[in-house]
Structure formats: structure tokens, C-alpha cells
Amino acid sequence: MPASDADFERGGTAGGGAAGRLRDTEWDNPAEHAFDDCLEQPGSPKPSPILVAHNIERRFGGLIAVNVDTLEIQAGAITALIGPNGAGKTTLFNLLSGFDRPDMGEVVFEGERVTNVAPHVLAQRGMVRTFQLTKVLAKLTVLENMKLGGQRQSGESMWRALVPSMWRGQEQALEAKALEVLDEFNMVHMKDEFAGALSGGQRKLLEMARSLMTEPKLIMLDEPMAGVNPALTQSLLGHVKRLRAQGISVVFVEHDMDVVRDISDWVVVMAEGVVVAEGRAASVGKNPAVIDAYLGTSHAALSEEDGNG
């Protein structure tokens, strides 16, 4: 990907900032060539989409919050969703993950129609999401938060809950797995702390780690870097790349164009509820529609200079 390499270079020359340091941790990118034949335009078809939205619309009163003709999300890749505040990114997230219902249109996940399927069913099928404002369960410990992510737990049946021998084995396996994942996130030492006592960044990490406990196929992150300090941002970015290396598809909403450029294989730009552009990070930044809707004219001039220099 020559375009993003160029970005890396630039980040590096600017004084070893965010993008430069990330190269220390290398993860394979199985999606490196997935988009080679994709047209850089709204609604462009992908070689193997995991999630497809057709013609979905959501209104609040008279306001059309989301109106997306076609959107395909490539499996095994990192897709970024960007756009100005109020563009409908979070609403689209809610529609795709079942937390809100579209007024019309359909959502297809892994080839099956999942419109109006309850969010917990989608989660069970492997589509898990995080929230812009972290939703850690403050009065549960970190470990309990993690164990909540376990699927098909027989101890979660009310009757079997009464007989511990019926679920103890599964619970121990779940705990071992939770500790394993916590270890990857360097959080084992705080496993018995109440989640409410964690800092904002640690909550983001916990939420991401907890999502992994559901063994997702597609993970949707709503502003994962918001409110996270720069040091932790590095670690979060590394984790996202590792997910991709493990074959998990990632969709995320983000404001920071640096982050978007660094980790995304594909970028979807929304404005006023509509997808206005799709493409690789480097070319999206030069797309007049994006400049008009999101980056603003002053940024356009900057990008020009950037390209020349």
C-alpha cells in the first residue's frame, strides 16, 4: 500500500510521532490486497463482505438521520467510519448492531438477513460492539466484567445456577480464558478491582477485552480513542491491528485522521446521514466530496501543499 506508506514516512519525519512509533509492533495484515479491485466510490462492492447494508433509512421526527443506499464491509479488514459530528455515524452503528431499528431497508450479516434481529442475538452470532461512552459495569470487578462476555454459559440458566456442579467446570475454563485475554491487555494485575475505579483509557481497554470474550467475527468500535491519552492510544491501535491479524473484522468510528490513516484499510465517509465517499485513507483525504463535507476548505489547501511538498 504505497499511499499509506507515504503517510508513515511523513509521520516519521515529523518527529517520531504517533504513526512512526507504531511501526515497532508489526502485525500481519491479511487484508492488505483485499481492496485492490475495489472502486473508490460510495456503495462499492467488496470481494467478501461480512456486513452489508441495503437502502437503510432512519428518521427522527422530520429529520433523516441515516439514509444509506449500499454499504459493504469487507471481512478481515479494518474499516474506518468518519464524518462530521451529527453525520449519523453512531446512528448507523446502532442500526447495524441492532440497537436501533431502521425505518426501512435491510442489513445482512454473513449472508443472512438480520434486519430487526435483537442486538443480543447479533452479539451471539459474532457481531459485537463497544460504545462511545464506555459501558463498563462499574460495580462488578474487572474479572466479572470479562466473564460476562462468555457465550453459551450453562450457569446462566436460572435452574442450573442452583446446582453449581453443573457449571463450575465451564466457569473455570471461562476464567482461564479471561485471564489470558487480560494478560494480552496487560490488565491481569487489576482483575479484582471494581471496574468503576478504572481510568477512562483503562475502561476503553476493558471494554475491548470484554468484547473479545464473545469470540466475535466482527467487532464495531465507536470512537475507541476518544478520551484516551496518547500513550494508551498506541497500545489500543496495536490491539486493533492484532485483531485483524487474528482474522477478526473491525469497523470503527473515529475523528482523528492520523489514527484513521494509520490503521484503516478502507475508509467510509458520512455526512448528513449519507455515505459521501469510500476509499483508501490516502485518496479519501483528497476527494473533493470529503473536503467539502468534512475536512473543510481550509484543509483542502493544506492537503494540496502536503501533496506538493
Binding site: F131, E144, L148, G196
Partner: protein
């Protein structure tokens, strides 16, 4: 002032049938309010259907008491499902209003005079639980117990039998609760209490867990209602009014919401406090230590309830975690 009488009465109140009824009802509310975050303010409705379930099935349909008890539990289950199906998606405060209204509807219907032959109307149903007294292995009229210095802890055989069965049920309920809340099932309930959407995103069916919690807590409520009915050998519709729920809620909060032993401790302390205050005041009034211009014998009971109100307020404001709660783990966050 007869302090020996005061102490004896106070101590007895903490362990007699009334305390047991409130403890059972509060255990159910603890599961709803404390563990799941469901604001069920209509627990008395579950008690009423339990009590009427056993009362009507035994008196009107002539079924044996044991079958009646099963029917009482079944009524609690049906009410929970009927109430839960449409309402579990409501916000906490809306759910509170709806459950109060549902309990009120139940009370109005069972006391409806045209259904007198069936539910006894305003007179209720009496004398349907004679079997229960007959199963008593003790001599009902004999006195059992002991006197320890000034303390008189003697109970009639009838009372002792009822208390024994009652406390057995409390132990059973606590055991079930202990198993439930320390299981993965309980973990999901707590996560729903903290944040429904987080639990939903983790693949949990919020509706299923809330419904199960409503049913289980409702069953404890029905059990409380049946114990009330059977130990009194009578069901009176006007006993099942709103105030009962609120006192049971006070019991649950006093002990500590989200704690297995909370309702038991809360119930014992609540009734000892209530009875202690009443006995002291009564003695003071009859000794004319308090002039009748300020308070007479009838008003003692009223002052006692005024104190319950103040107690509930102060608990919620100053110690929402109750007696044995951990401030970090309290269910109703003062700052949520």
C-alpha cells in the same frame, strides 16, 4: 415502666410471623430492586395472588392445602409473566408506577363484592388452612420456651409451629438466593442493573433475565403472601395495600440491597425497632410520662409509622447501602 415487658416484646417481634412475612417479601424485592434494578413497587400484588391462590383453591374448590400452596405459587408465576411481558422494557420509575397500579387492580378485584362467593369480597376468606394447624406436632395451646431473668420468651405451640415453618422457608429462600446471585446467572442480573446495553452487547437477552428475576422474586412474594394467609388462617383484601410494599422495601433497604442476608437482618431489626419504640411509648403513655395531650394510646401506633417514614428517608439519604452493604457495591446509587 415495665422494662422486662418492653424487652421481651421487642425481642419477640423480631422473630415472629409478621417479621417472617416481611422478610420473605423483602427477599423477593431484593432480587428485583437490589440485584436486577427492577423497580417493583407492587410486591404486595404477588403476595395477594399467592394468598388468594391458596385461599380460593382450598375454600372454593375444596382442594387440599398442599395443592393450594402449589396453586398459590403458580398464581405468582402467572402474574409475573403477565406483568413482565409488556412492562419490562419500561424505565425504572415508570415500572414503579405500573407495578403499583397492577397491585391496586388486584386488590380492587379480589375485594369486589360481586365476586364474594369466589374471593370473599371485603370480608376475605377465612378458615381454609385448618390442615396446617392440624399438622402441628406441638400442643397448640401449650406454652413453650423459657424465661431468662426479665426476658419472657414463651410462645404457644401454635405460634412456635408457624414460626418454625416460617423460618425454615426463610432459610430455604436465603439459600436459593445465595446460590442464584453467586452464579453466572446472578452475574448477568448485576450487569443488567449496571447497564442494560452493555449486557445486551455481550449477547445477553435482557428480557429473559429480567423476566426470570421478576418471576423468582415474585415467587418469594407469593410465598410471603401464602405464609401470611395460612398462619392467620384468613385472607383480608385490605391487608394487601400499597403500604405493605413500601414497608417491605424499607426492610430490604435497611438490611442492605444487593446482599443475600440483607432482608433477613433488615426484617428482624425493623420489627424489633418498631416494636421497641411502640412498647416504650405505650408504657410511657400509660404511666403518664407522656401527657395524653401530646400522645394517647392510639397515636403511639401512628408515631411509630411516622418514624418508619423518617427512617426510610434517612436510610436512602445517609446510608443507601443499608446495614451490611458495601458502599462500592450498592444497587441504588445515590449518584446515578
Amino acid at each position: 415502666m415495665d422494662w422486662s415487658l418492653i424487652f421481651s416484646n421487642t425481642l419477640r417481634s423480631g422473630i415472629t410471623q409478621t417479621a417472617i412475612i416481611y422478610i420473605l417479601a423483602a427477599i423477593g424485592m431484593n432480587l428485583h430492586v437490589g440485584y436486577t434494578g427492577l423497580m417493583n413497587f407492587g410486591q404486595v400484588g404477588f403476595m395477594a395472588v399467592g394468598a388468594y391462590g391458596v385461599g380460593i383453591s382450598t375454600s372454593y374448590y375444596g382442594l387440599p392445602l398442599g395443592v393450594g400452596v402449589l396453586i398459590g405459587l403458580l398464581c405468582g408465576l402467572v402474574l409475573a409473566v403477565l406483568l413482565g411481558m409488556p412492562t419490562l422494557r419500561l424505565r425504572a420509575d415508570y415500572l414503579g408506577i405500573v407495578t403499583i397500579a397492577a397491585a391496586e387492580i388486584i386488590r380492587l378485584v379480589v375485594r369486589y363484592q360481586k365476586l364474594k362467593d369466589w374471593s370473599g369480597g371485603t370480608n376475605g376468606i377465612n378458615g381454609f388452612a385448618n390442615d396446617f394447624q392440624e399438622w402441628n406436632p406441638l400442643t397448640p395451646s401449650a406454652k413453650y420456651g423459657f424465661e431468662l431473668g426479665p426476658l419472657n420468651l414463651r410462645f404457644t405451640g401454635a405460634d412456635l409451629w408457624e414460626m418454625g415453618v416460617g423460618w425454615l422457608m426463610v432459610c430455604l429462600a436465603v439459600f436459593v438466593m445465595w446460590r442464584l446471585v453467586n452464579s453466572p446467572w446472578g452475574r448477568v442480573l448485576k450487569s443488567i442493573r449496571e447497564d442494560e446495553n452493555a449486557a445486551r452487547a455481550m449477547g445477553k437477552s435482557i428480557f429473559r433475565f429480567k423476566m426470570q428475576s421478576l418471576v423468582m422474586g415474585g415467587l418469594f412474594g407469593s410465598l410471603a403472601g401464602m405464609f401470611f394467609a395460612i398462619s392467620n388462617n384468613s385472607v383480608q383484601p385490605d391487608n394487601y395495600s400499597r403500604a405493605f410494599t413500601f414497608f417491605a422495601l424499607t426492610v430490604a433497604i435497611l438490611g442492605g440491597l444487593g446482599r443475600v442476608w440483607g432482608p433477613v437482618l433488615g426484617g428482624v431489626i425493623f420489627w424489633m425497632l418498631l416494636s421497641g419504640i411502640e412498647n416504650v411509648l405505650r408504657e410511657a403513655v400509660s404511666d403518664e410520662k407522656i401527657p395524653t395531650g401530646i400522645m394517647d394510646g392510639v397515636q403511639v401506633g401512628q408515631v411509630r409509622f411516622m418514624l418508619v417514614g423518617i427512617g426510610l428517608m434517612s436510610l436512602m439519604i445517609f446510608r443507601p447501602q443499608g446495614m451490611i452493604g458495601d458502599k462500592r457495591g450498592i444497587a441504588i446509587d445515590a449518584r446515578k
